[in-house]
């Protein structure tokens, strides 16, 4: 098998808010009826989390699950376990109508950490990221500058961002520039 390499190989832009590439991350697009009991149980066994409510995500380290749309989840697992996870899904969902696709190497995973991380992202997305509106555990698919991206907060100063691999460099540079430009002081 070819040697998997992450988009920016762990590039870091240090500063008061640090932007870093999160390295290889196992990601599975999992579509189906989110109320399906088998789907629920395989989600729980793979990630340790229940199927999230609408617009939410749960994650802990490399594992997690995010609500992408009314019939789609994003399953996060350690990169090396992706193949086994897809096999586990195939086994659990046998006979059901579903789709599970390994998209790990089609994506870039970025991290934005620091005091005004919220503003670094808010400057780039047409989303309400006010502390009263967007909380830890909320998940949002939207735009960052000119590209599609999704993000969620793992704590009050940390955003995890995912986007397509082909625009990973753009997303990193965009977030790094936003971080470098400093806080707006709006929130």
């Amino acid at each position: 098998m070819s040697n998997a390499v992450s988009t920016l190989q762990g590039k870091v832009a240090n500063g008061e808010v640090t932007v870093s590439e999160g390295g290889l991350r196992g990601m599975i697009t999992f579509r189906g009826d989110l109320a399906n009991a088998k789907l629920k149980s395989v989600c729980k066994s793979l990630t340790g989390f229940a199927v999230p409510e609408r617009g939410k995500a749960s994650s802990n380290g490399d594992k997690g699950v995010a609500w992408m749309s009314p019939d789609e989840l994003l399953i996060l697992v350690p990169h090396a376990e992706t193949k086994a996870a897809i096999e586990a899904i195939a086994k659990a969902m046998n006979g059901q109508h579903y789709l599970a696709e390994n998209v790990s190497d089609a994506r870039t995973h970025l991290k934005v950490e620091g005091r005004y991380a919220r503003e670094v992202v808010a400057k780039l997305a047409p989303a309400d990221l006010h502390p009263d509106s967007f909380h830890v555990g909320d998940f949002r698919r939207t735009r960052l500058g000119q590209i599609a991206a999704a993000f969620w907060m793992t704590d009050d100063q940390t955003f995890e961002v995912i986007c397509f691999r082909s625009v990973g460099g753009y997303a990193f540079d965009l977030l790094a520039a936003s971080a470098k430009a400093g806080p707006v002081g709006h929130f």
Binding site: G55, S69, D128
Partner: protein, 109 residues
């Protein structure tokens, strides 16, 4: 700035998160229909000044379609609702009537 509430994912989406997909509630005339019916389905649109029903796609978000009732003259949004409907829900019609008494659009009023 136009923001629409996506009934699929519950997000108040900015216009730039969305893609306009043309008029809502079109009845499709396909193979075996008459030329006139097909012509009207293909080309004839309401294009009103005022109350309008549109299809939108939450293209940067959940990727799903929904329908919106709004005013093309003022950008006022009366409401959004599921795309899987043949006509606007009564609550949407009531909201429009409250603001634009006597409105009509196609077969709806």
């Amino acid at each position: 700035m136009l923001t629409l509430h996506c009934p699929n994912c519950g997000v108040h989406a900015d216009e730039t998160d969305l893609h306009a997909e043309g008029e809502a509630h079109l009845k499709r005339f396909g193979p075996n229909s008459t030329d006139d019916d097909f012509h009207d389905y293909m080309f004839q649109r309401q294009n009103p000044k005022g109350v309008h029903f549109e299809r939108w796609k939450h293209v940067y978000g959940c990727g799903k379609y929904f329908l919106a009732a709004r005013c093309t003259a003022t950008l006022e949004v009366f409401g959004t609702y599921a795309a899987q409907t043949h006509e606007p829900p009564q609550a949407i019609k009531d909201a429009i009537t409250a603001k634009r008494p006597g409105w009509s659009w196609g077969d709806f009023s």
